[in-house]
């Protein structure tokens, strides 16, 4: 609870800095503030409770994921200073929006009431629409913002419709009441329909196939830092929320009562395999790194959706996968930010010969991509391992084999980038690197490797 209040307070503070003309100090102060919030989150981890008539429920699940979101936001804020060099006057707005987005994200994983859930998703989405279109003189950025807004609001509408149907069926927005009622034998058909609509809306946000069409265009058009936000923070938020919705509202048992469980699982299997396969195959053809990572994000969403197949005990695995994926994403995008800083596009050709210009950054990007490809000893490997293990245990060998084949395909495009860095000659002189880029990239990769060496630290968090 305190986490959410503290974050919102920090956001307001950021807006005030503008008035106080404190722009130069805004990044360090925000980071310190976020670190303090992180401390509060840790203290809440072992003190679950519900607040404001169950509006907000703090649980281990919500605190763990909130902590992950906060860490990611710290990285994103740290990168903001250099990224918005050209818009010095607006930096406090951008940072405040990011903090509000974080507040939305935290609300989304700690809701105890569907109204709160919807509030969270709107706060998060609206912040993102603004960020996507924040490069307002650039046509592509405008296009991205518009596309994202149209698709996103459509998805929000579907979610809202689903919430209404659930209210109609249950007479309540309260998660505990709904989950108790959902176990009763006689359930109005509105409940599963509402749940499916909500799931569809969330799959939009996750960018899972077949609701993925917006992702590549929006990723490509948005300013790179916003793309970073979308592909790391927002994707993880959306998956965690979807997981929580399905787990907390007792969807699985209620479907079982009505003999619909088989259908639901088949659909999840299809969406999982389709997301992995479509994402990977499309990524193979991309020349733009941002688009490539967008498609790779779609395939990772497919991997993370595998946790829905064994929902009763896969929260820890989801947390671990999300952490591994988003840390690798942060590291990769930091290098992209550095390489493409003064270029007008993000083609793979820009990465030619990076190993000669800047070996350290090349090594960081290589490590991040290897982690995403699931090569040991990076965290990405263990993320896949525990996921496969869990899924085989749940009896879905087919999904695992599809996932394995996809892992092989994914090596194809991740290595395209690595090859460009190591096997081509550089076409121009190296740009000077700012210290923050190094700091963020290296810290993210080191965290990733440490998680790979000690996976139990995260895996066992959620019991």
């Amino acid at each position: 609870m305190n986490t959410l209040i503290a974050i919102t307070g920090l956001g307001v503070l950021c807006l005030l800095f503008e008035i106080l003309n404190f722009r130069k100090a805004i990044v360090p102060i925000t980071i310190i503030g976020l670190l303090a919030v992180l401390g509060i989150t840790f203290s809440e981890f072992n003190a679950p409770g519900s607040h404001y008539n169950n509006m907000i429920v703090v649980s281990k699940f919500s605190s763990a994921f909130s902590a992950l979101f906060i860490v990611l936001t710290i990285f994103l804020v740290a990168l903001a200073h250099d990224f918005y060099e050209d818009h010095k006057t607006k930096i406090s707005d951008f940072i405040a929006i990011k903090i509000f987005m974080l507040a939305g994200a935290v609300a989304m994983v700690s809701f105890g009431n569907l109204a709160m859930f919807f509030l969270g998703i709107e706060v998060l989405s609206i912040s993102l629409y603004i960020l996507a279109a924040s490069n307002r003189l650039n046509v592509k950025s405008n296009e991205a913002g518009m596309k994202y807004f149209l698709m996103g609001s459509f998805a929000s509408g579907i979610i809202l419709f689903g919430i209404c149907l659930i209210y109609g069926a249950m007479g309540s927005f309260d998660v505990i009441e709904i989950s108790e009622n959902s176990l009763s034998a006689e359930l109005p058909i509105w409940f599963p329909i509402g749940m499916i609509l909500m799931t569809i809306g969330m799959l939009f946000k996750v960018a899972a196939v077949p609701f993925h069409f917006w992702a590549p265009d929006v990723y490509e058009g948005s300013p790179t830092l916003t793309t970073t936000t979308m592909s790391t923070l927002v994707k993880v938020v959306a998956i965690a929320t979807l997981y929580k919705l399905i787990a907390e509202l007792n969807l699985i048992p209620s479907l079982e009562n009505q003999d619909l469980l088989g259908t639901f699982k088949t659909i999840v299997v299809i969406i999982t395999i389709a997301s992995m396969t479509v994402g990977n195959i499309m990524a193979l053809k991309q020349n733009n790194v941002k688009r490539m990572l967008a498609f790779s994000g779609i395939s990772h969403a497919g991997f993370m959706l595998m946790t829905l197949l064994s929902i009763s005990n896969s929260a820890g695995n989801l947390l671990y996968y999300a952490t591994a994926y988003s840390l690798a994403g942060i590291a990769a995008f930091t290098v992209i930010l550095y390489v493409c800083k003064n270029r007008d596009n993000e083609d793979i050709a820009n990465f030619n010969g990076l190993s000669k210009n800047n070996p350290l950054m090349a090594a960081v990007l290589t490590a991040a991509l290897l982690s995403m490809a699931g090569i040991p000893i990076f965290a990405g490997f263990f993320a896949k391992l525990v996921l496969f293990n869990q899924t085989i245990q749940a009896g879905y060998l087919v999904v695992v084999i599809a996932a394995v084949i996809n892992s092989i395909i994914s090596v194809g495009y991740y290595f395209k980038l690595i090859l460009a860095m190591y096997n081509k000659e550089p076409n121009e002189e190296a740009a000077k690197t700012q210290f923050v880029f190094y700091a963020v990239a290296i810290v993210a990769v080191l965290l990733n490797i440490i998680l790979g060496l000690f996976p139990s630290a995260v895996l066992d968090l959620l019991g």
Binding site: G316, S355, P359, L370, I375, P376, I377, F381, F382, L385, V386, F388, N389, I392, Q393, L397, V400, I401, V404, S407, I408, V411, G412, F415, L419, Y422, N423, K424, P455, S456, L459, D460
Partner: protein, 483 residues
Amino acid sequence: MNVTTLLIILLVGAFATYFSGDKWAPKVALLFGLTAFAGTICLLSQYNLGQEINYTKLWISKPNISFALQADGLSLAMLLLTTALTPIIIYSSFGNTYKNSKAFYALILFMTFAMAGTFLASDGLLYYIFWELSLIPIYFIALIWGNGDAEERKKAVVKFFIYTLAGSLFMLVAFIYLYQKAGSFLINDLTQLKLSSTEQFWIFLAFFLAYAIKIPLIPFHTWQAEVYQKAPTVGTMLLSGIMLKMGLYSVIRWQLPIAPLAAKEYMDVFIILGIAGVIYGSIVALRQKDLKKLLAYSSLAHVGLIAAGSYTLTLDGFRGAVLQMIAHGFVVTGLFLVAEIIFRRYETRKISEMGGIRAQSPKFTSMFMILVLASVALPSTFNFVGEFTVLYSLSQVNIWFSLLGGTTIILGAYYMLKMFQHVMLGETNVRLFADVTFNEGLCLVIIIAVLFFFGMYPKPIIDLITPSLENILTQVNRFNQVK
């Protein structure tokens, strides 16, 4: 000391090499390579004295993964091969200069670290991690420091990487499946599982894919010749001398004891695949114009025979396979070094552009000749001991296998001697061929000495490996006793 110390030496060595700078990197790498070798000798003596050198510690509680390293005779023999060859390989490269040599030598040591880990790990997942880790350094070594056109090299290396990764991911699925049954990845638990023959068949197949690509066996060999040719010679030596043996070792250590029923049922198929490799490799080698490619195909033929030997599921087959693994590791390293020595002087790998070296450099010629003869398994060399044992074990299964496998010696003699004739003999070459330098000579002499010593007196190695191979054989035969 226990086995972790050895791994730590190699890992620290990799980092120390990287941070010692380009000028000192080769020497630091050599130093750590020699230290690791000394460490292995030390472990060996401790093992012979019966002291505890294994190390086990729980690493991840859920899923249950241990950091378990276990050294028995077989592991130690492989470890000896790895740590003895690494300093030789590093020392042999002193004649070349590499750009960014600190990264180059650090990667070599890192690869040795991963390979040593593969030979030691007794937890399936830890083994898998080391297995995969060893792939990354060789990928970069071949990609960055390789020779030939960059585009072609890229294609060859990426194909190699994707092939091997694809194979090993199926092995990972097999391991996870086994974990569901056993609740642990430890080899001692996995080899006690009572799996049905269908389960064994699929698990055997998943493992087979990984190993057949790595060894390589026909028809999974297509990556090999290209990569051998494109990689820098040091990389080729690491690949053919040590890395291939990872696959062969794993067949004996993991695949056969875990899924023996499938191995028995389809024994003929796998032996025939191995022997097909022998014949195919030899015939293709005959037609090669590139020295390194010729050696690559000869390597294909030899490992085919080793694989056939291990799939006979007899003690002699295992023993011959392990002996031949070590012998082949040394001889192939020596032969690739010879190719590199010629390349340093003539800047070519085409056999047709060589010739007439004998008169200019008699010392080099005699050393080359000995290596060629060892490679075709002349009696009194180590290779003879290995190859003969393997052929004997094949004859116990079916005399035809032994006859067909025996063609390796005839065909091998043909293409190796023909190659020797074209490369060394003939009219004296107009281009000057400087005699071998001290470090080249020393490397070759060490290799030759090892081959001769164990050729005449293989007992120490046989005594070392036999008890652990007998253990493995009882695990393989555990289903017979039930019936």
